[in-house]
């Protein structure tokens, strides 16, 4: 009887931590999702004190406050977009490291392609012209041929 009781105690002790662990685990999982989302947001947001750093890279007091705030908002169940909108409302689009695609930012987005297009056209024109003119010089007209022949003859003499 005592033996059985001992086994029961041992069994209980073995099972207790695992049940505790599993409870912790679900907590950890939801926590790590928040942390994952928070980290993604940190990378997309600008630290306003050291302006070319993201929040993730920055240790400025304001950046730390903002990070804390972002984590809290995510824990409250806010989506990433809602948190972003909240910050943009207060600090402007400047806080986004990746500018949004809007009419105001259109040139920023399509500008490089326009320049690339101009470049391609220029390169095309330049090289086709270059080839044409180099082809032209290869064929001499009869007068030139005569002239060259004359010079060569002179040299040989």
């Amino acid at each position: 009887m005592i033996k059985l009781f001992k086994y029961a105690v041992i069994l209980f002790l073995c099972s207790a931590p695992s049940s505790l662990y599993s409870q912790n685990n679900t907590n950890l999982e939801s926590n790590s999702l928040v942390l994952q989302q928070a980290k993604e947001l940190y990378e997309e947001l600008r630290c306003l004190v050291c302006q070319n750093q993201s929040l993730l890279e920055s240790e400025a007091p304001l950046a730390l406050d903002l990070k804390e705030l972002i984590k809290e908002k995510l824990k409250e169940g806010k989506t990433k977009k809602e948190v972003k909108d909240f910050l943009v409302e207060r600090y402007g689009e400047f806080i986004l490291l990746l500018p949004t695609l809007s009419l105001q930012n259109l040139f920023l987005w399509i500008g490089p392609f326009i320049f690339l297009f101009i470049g391609i056209i220029f390169a095309y024109k330049f090289y086709t012209n270059f080839n044409r003119s180099s082809n032209k010089t290869k064929t001499l007209n009869p007068a030139e041929k005569k002239n060259v022949q004359k010079i060569l003859d002179e040299k040989l003499e």
Binding site: D65, G92, F126, N129
Partner: protein
Amino acid sequence: MKKYYYYIPLITFILLILFFSRQLFLNKDPSHLPSVMLDESFPKLEFNQLAKYNLLTIEDIFSYDKPSLVNVWASWCVPCKIEHANLMLLKNKHSIRIYGINYKDNLKKADEILNLDGNPFYSIGVDSSGRIAINLGVYGVPETFILDRNGKIRYRHVGPILEYDIRETILPILTKLEQDD
């Protein structure tokens, strides 16, 4: 004849330079962000009290019938010390109402400074966590907002208010707001 092609890169380059230099010279300091809160009503925030000083309330701001200033400051902030005398000047000489927001500060030291150098503020609200400042879009101290008589934010000044700023921006804006409607 087709030589003008050769000038396209040069012309593009010059246009780019002009475009960039416009940003460089017109926007004097890129670290001064324009406020998104402009023309918005001052947000309905709640503050804690600092020592014996009047507590800043939203009712204060909206019941006042003249333009006013909201100054975010802290005792640890050196530019705030530079600005302090000018805030006193605005209060005493130009009789402008200034609300103070005490940002992430040691309250004892904040009290000491006001005892020592004088209190330019009509009322003060404490923001010990920095959350209120984030709600206002503040990203450094000192920052000052000019409110019109309806409690709308009309101007944001980043950095200390110098004599030059009082003369060139703060007072002209205040008189203009006073003349409006």
